[in-house]
């Protein structure tokens, strides 16, 4: 049986300065039960505004937000049944951990013993021992522990939808990855529907069932993290998700069976995995790991010069300048060449992976 979406956003817009600034521009978005959807984009892309509108902290200029099928227009935040974990965490400094977590339940008017039990359970869920932490003040907690309190405080109210506003931005990389994995497992365990707003594509990929890329108030692309990483529909999306090599297309030589053969400004023709009407100023894009570097010409390869090479986290990377002046990055798990700066190398591109995109 098809379940109804938890969240439906239709044609949502939010303008500022009497329409001059379009922070959110006619976006549509659904979140299904048990699904985490990440909204990923640079700062100022409208992702936070979208989230604030969902929570009722800001109001749209046009469009509709439905939660569990009900239009929430005109409903204040406290009547929406939407939880929000803030970037600053917004832990109440004048309350103990227990009082923080109990706050939402108290607002619901639950009986005291019920609150006690739920708070203890929520703290255990986020792996804070109630005996040890319930009485502590926020000032006595570490960043990671505050994170858990914020999470417990939101989850304990059992909201229909949980919104995360980059709550892990302040944590260092390792703790962030650890928390992301843990958050993901809690979400699965509870079957939560959630929207995760972030500019950090790694966290978004780790956390989400689906990712939505936003820029300048518009949704550029939506899909699973793999889909978007593998088949970005624009240079912007590709750039945003990781290192991207770009070659300008001079001429499309052939399009057949959904594949293309193009002439690039690097002087070499490339086979790419997609086709379509790409118009003027299109690009071939491919990732550093979709290249192979040779010390001798294997035929049909780009000739270039190694500018620098690094070894990091088990990966070899080379910065290469091609004959036509294009720069590209190549990457491999094995050190194919003992090349150092100044050596001439040849590069080929995995034809099954390279893609053509519009400007």
């Amino acid at each position: 049986m098809e379940q109804n979406p938890v969240l439906e956003i239709r044609n949502l817009s939010r303008t500022f300065a009497h329409g001059a600034v379009r922070a959110v521009d006619q976006i549509d978005l659904d979140v299904q039960p048990g699904e985490i959807v990440s909204i990923l984009g640079p700062s100022g892309c409208g992702k936070t505004t979208t989230m604030r509108i969902i929570a009722g902290l800001d109001l749209p200029t046009a469009g509709e937000v439905r939660i569990l099928g009900k239009n929430v227009a005109g409903k204040p935040p406290h009547q929406r049944n939407v939880g929000l974990v803030f970037q600053s965490l917004a832990i109440f400094p004048h309350m103990s951990v227990k009082q923080n977590v109990a706050f939402g339940l108290r607002m619901q008017g639950l009986a005291r013993n019920l609150i006690e039990a739920k708070v203890a359970k929520a703290l255990e869920l986020v792996q804070l021992s109630p005996e040890k932490f319930a009485g502590r003040r926020p000032s006595e907690l570490s960043g990671g522990q505050l994170q858990r309190v914020a999470l417990a405080r939101t989850l304990v109210t059992e909201p229909a939808l949980v919104l995360f506003d980059e709550p892990m931005a302040a944590l260092d990389r390792r703790l962030r990855d650890y928390m992301a994995v843990e958050l993901r497992s809690i979400q699965k365990q509870l079957g939560l529907a959630a929207v995760y707003v972030t500019h950090d594509q790694e966290t978004a990929s780790m956390m989400s069932d689906r990712v939505i890329i936003m820029n300048a108030g518009k949704i550029l692309q939506a899909g699973t993290p793999e889909e978007i990483y593998e088949t970005p529909n624009s240079k912007f999306v590709s750039d945003f998700l990781g290192d991207t090599n770009t070659l300008r297309i001079e001429r499309v030589l052939e399009q057949k069976d959904g594949k293309s053969l193009v002439q690039t400004n690097a002087g070499v023709t490339i086979r790419v995995a997609n086709s379509g009407d790409i118009g003027e100023g299109a690009f071939v894009i491919f990732r550093p790991e979709q290249t192979i570097v040779y010390p001798a010409d294997p035929g049909g390869a780009f000739e270039g010069e190694v500018v620098s090479s690094q070894f990091r986290s088990g990966l070899h990377r080379w910065q290469i300048v091609l004959r036509g002046g294009n720069k590209l990055i190549a990457q491999s798990t094995e050190n194919r060449l003992a090349s150092s700066a100044g050596d001439t190398v040849w590069v080929t591109i995995d034809p099954g992976k390279a893609r053509i995109v519009r400007q």
């Binding site: 902290l57 929000l84 803030f86 917004a90 004048h94 607002m107």
Partner: protein, 278 residues
Amino acid sequence: MSMPTATGRFGIEWQLVKGITCMLLALMLAPICMVLVISFTSGETLQFPPPALSLRWYQEVWTMLVGPDAGIGRLRESLLVSLEIAALTSLVCVLAGVPTSYALVRYRFAGKTVIEELIGLPVVFPAVVLGIALLVLVSASDLNFGIFQIVAAHSIIGLPFLMRNCMAAMRGIDPMLEEAAMTLGASAPKVFREIVLPLASGGIGSGAILVFILSFNEFTLSYFLYSVDVFPLSIWLFQQANTSFSPAVFAVSSLIVVVNVAAVLVVDAVIGSRGSAA
């Protein structure tokens, strides 16, 4: 904190600054100190230095306050009225100033700067004019407002002081805390009660104490608005200054000084702890 440097903190210059400051402060506090010392005299007059020290005038004051004849000298009555006026004034200023402070700190709206200007007006408004105009209004109304005519006058001049403290405290509250409370199911009044009030309580409290001190010591407005039934302590002291002038008055004054210093220390502690936390 920047590192202390040698510039202007050593040598003759610094000794001079320190010396002059101490001298000036001594001069500023001289009258208050005189009152304190003379209140302990054993003699009948205000002579200085006192012939010997004793607590006889404090015993006298004690009798004036709680003795069988306490009603005659009116000291007890005046003290109670002054305390009542000061407490009510603090209360009125808190009730009036806290919501307005919140509106001014949290929202932008047309006419906001005008309102901010108006709130600061009582600080510069001449007290004599306020006192006289209120007296004219009260007489014209033909009503008996009791202590409330003085409470109203004191509340007007106390409001900016309460609000300055209150707004400083409210500016320090992260708006996200209020939004977090909203998303956790708190309605606007509950957000105010559960988040804003507790977090601003230090500023509100110190402001309220400040207003209390201000009202308790206030003379000019009380001078115009007192009546036979409402006879504040400052007016009692004024009357004493013009009639009998025994060391007992100095003992009463000393007690007032002690109460004031204690209140200032409390405010200082509250503001100081807030300052160091920020």
